[in-house]
Amino acid sequence: MRLTCPQCGERDRREFYYVGDAVALERPAPDAGDEAWEAYVHLRDNPAGETRDLWYHEAGCGAWLVVTRNTVTHAVLDVVLASDVKGGGA
């Protein structure tokens, strides 16, 4: 598996660390209520198909990335800097 980092170009899987569902970029408001917070913290879909995950270019530029890929075909559909995505600015 290879990911194309927007800054570094196409790189081998070994340079990246998998962080989890990109839902982490959609943090609820502090007063959003228990249900919204429970879903944000605990509930994850496990789709056969397209997923949107956070990856970290650990052994490269150190950027957090949002990777869209298909878990059935293993196709990598899109890689963008998390800092360019709403909610991704540190």
Binding site: Q7, C8, R11, R14, E15, H57, L81, S83
Partner: protein, 183 residues
């Protein structure tokens, strides 16, 4: 007060020459990581130009020359190698002294690309990785910065704590390439 004697990261290990490829340690002077504050990227670039005469490199590039270089060093930061950073940069960027944190190596000679190809997962051949190109990547399992300095010359920055391993890996690859060439 005790007299402390500074030791370079690769003290006692280098230089070595194997099969026409030489590996030696270089003293780059001050090493400073500079990360422009958000919204200050442009003013930082201007201040850098005015203070040190260096153009801010794009991702994957290094500017300047021996003794004074500005190396892209990852997302939203660069490494100034050589001069101490001018005080005026402080209002535009987060500034971190890393002078003692890195082992700096220069590896050169015919066949140097073959040596690095044994250790580094990215394509460093001349046609894709030209002079002034730089990358953050791995050398075996170590995170490094690699910059092409010339047709047969690269600079490698590795963590100081791993200097001995870094030299060992490079020496092993140099020996392997030399043996293949001799055969």
């Amino acid at each position: 007060m005790a007299e402390l004697i500074a030791k370079s990261p690769c003290d006692g290990l280098l230089p070595v020459e194997i099969g026409g490829v030489t590996l030696r340690e270089v003293d780059l002077g001050h090493l400073t990581a500079l990360a422009p504050h958000r919204g200050k990227e442009k003013s930082f670039a201007e201040a850098m130009k005015a203070a040190h005469g260096l153009t801010l490199p794009k991702p994957g590039r290094a500017t300047g020359k021996d003794g004074k270089r500005l190396i892209w060093f990852g997302r939203a930061h660069v490494l100034l190698a050589g001069p101490a950073p001018a005080a005026r940069l402080l209002s535009h960027a987060a500034v971190t002294d890393q002078s003692d944190a890195w082992a700096a190596l220069r590896i050169e000679g015919e066949g140097v690309e073959d040596v690095l190809a044994r250790l580094v997962p990215i394509d460093l051949r001349q046609q894709v990785f030209k002079r002034g190109h730089t990358a953050r990547t791995q050398l075996q399992h170590m995170n490094v910065s690699i910059t092409r300095l010339g047709d047969d010359a690269f600079m490698i920055l590795g963590f100081r704590s791993m200097a001995t391993t870094l030299v060992h890996e490079l020496e092993t690859a140099m020996s392997g390439v030399a043996a293949r060439r001799a055969g």
